[in-house]
Amino acid sequence: MRNIRLYGQFIRVAVLGKVQYKADFLVGIVSVLILNAVNLSLIGILVYNFNTLGNWNIWDLLFLYSFWMLSRGIYGVFFWHLSDLEEMIVSGTFDAYLVRPASPFLQFIGKDISYTGVGDFLVGVLGFILAAAQIGLHWHIGQWVYFAICVLSGALIQVAINWIGASLCFWTTRSNAAMYITERFTVLMQQYPVNIFGRYFQIFVTCFLPVAFINYYPSVVLLGKAAEVQLWQYGAPVVAFLLLAIAAFIWSKGVKRYAGTGN
């Protein structure tokens, strides 16, 4: 309870720090919108020429992309600065968190928010509305609830992957290269239906780096893209929970090790 209040305070300070720079905020949002427009137009041009990608048409792909953007927005606003950990470890500023009477993770996560996530989320909302209208979605309440849970799970999966990536620098001091590469790879994966990449890739992004659960499997379930939906394809929330547990474990090991060596 105290932690939640504390985090609320941290975030309030972070927000106040951000709103000082209004121009920066606007430029940041606009650049995210442009970047998304570029991504979407490139996919658009491909599908405009070829009509379909597997059994996904342009609106299905927009749905897939928006799904990802919604979850990425949530992740981005609160956790984008996970990649700052490397610099904090290298420069030694992380040590300040260890001596204060609050959880280091809470302090680290509460130190900043990022508005690029706001742009992503906006794109997600707009894209979803457009795609939903074009596809003609008629969901019952259960499907809406499942949709909301999956967006949240998707955000948490991204949090967990980046949390694990960042934690690696307790051992290696450098982790941003690995995080950057995972990020770029994820970005490519999330834009296309995973089944076009062949079996090995599908196994890889399902079992080892489970980014397919961020938007692909939920979309398969919700759009009815599989002839027969298997139970595990509903598993996004479970995957998110497991990954978070693993990430929290690795982080706490890392912090202990870091504090133990007395760096």
Partner: protein
């Protein structure tokens, strides 16, 4: 002039050595980069296969050539991505206030940046681009280009590295004025990604966008060398494409010299 050329060459070689040592320190990030390039090649190959499966005749070139094009687009990113340009270094020097030192060195600033940059790019080409292309060649059984296409490709690639250097250098100069390069860089990345033909070839663009991409210099960076490689530009077309690249090099060189002069006067007046 001749004497200074000798010095230039030696300076260039020194930078090359330097960059090589710099890169060999980060061995882990090298391997990660290699794995990343590989995963990307593999997946873009699959995207094209899936697209062709539905509609084999739309893209204007047969699938194996399209895959060569896509794989090249991924591999060349290791040298042509803007993050390898000099603008990051320039921005850092500006922030630290040590850019004066670089400007006052008894060597032309632009040449200094070029030599430094080419050092890094040659090393990355030898140790990232070349190995991944050779591996891709066997694993995806790519087709070899004809000899003229291959020679044209090499020549065009050198041009595209130079065009990309000049554009990055101009961004770096702008950062001296605006003191913040992040947003400019972002916009530039987006434009480059869209209009360079790196991921999606320009010839399947709708006509209006195609016209815009023809006017902009970005297609010199990925589209032209890659199109030459897969034989889309051959004979006179190839010479024409090389000519376009060369013309852009001249234009960008002139523009960057003019801009450099203006920016430096400004920096000097400000006194850093």
């Amino acid at each position: 002039m001749r004497a200074s050329n000798g010095i230039s060459l030696r300076t260039g070689a020194a930078f090359l050595r330097n960059e090589f040592y710099n890169m060999s320190i980060y061995r882990v990030s090298f391997w990660l980069n290699f794995i990343y390039t590989f995963l990307m090649m593999y997946s873009v190959g699959y995207v094209w296969r899936a697209l062709y499966a539905a509609n084999p005749s739309v893209a204007g070139v047969p699938l194996p050539q399209m895959i060569s094009y896509a794989v090249l687009g991924v591999a060349l990113e290791a040298i042509l991505h803007p993050r390898n340009g000099p603008q990051r270094y320039i921005m850092e020097q500006v922030r630290k206030g040590t850019i004066e030192m670089d400007i006052m060195k008894p060597i032309d600033f632009q040449f200094y940046m070029l030599a430094k940059n080419m050092g890094g790019i040659s090393v990355r080409f030898l140790f990232l681009v070349l190995p991944s292309l050779i591996a891709a060649f066997f694993l995806f059984s790519l087709e070899l280009p004809s000899l003229p296409a291959f020679l044209g490709f090499l020549c065009s690639l050198v041009f595209s590295v130079i065009v990309s250097f000049f554009l990055n250098f101009i961004l770096g100069l702008l950062s001296m004025v605006t003191m913040n390069i992040r947003n400019i860089n972002w916009g530039y990345n987006a434009l480059l990604r869209f209009f360079s033909g790196q991921m999606v070839p320009l010839w399947i663009f709708p006509s209006a966008l195609g016209v815009i991409s023809d006017i902009l210099p970005f297609r010199c960076i990925y589209s032209i060398p890659m199109s030459i490689y897969i034989g889309n530009y051959a004979g006179l077309d190839m010479l024409g494409a090389l000519g376009i690249q060369f013309a852009w090099i001249l234009v960008l060189w002139l523009a960057s010299r003019l801009l450099m002069k203006r920016v430096f006067t400004r920096v000097m007046i400000q006194g850093g």
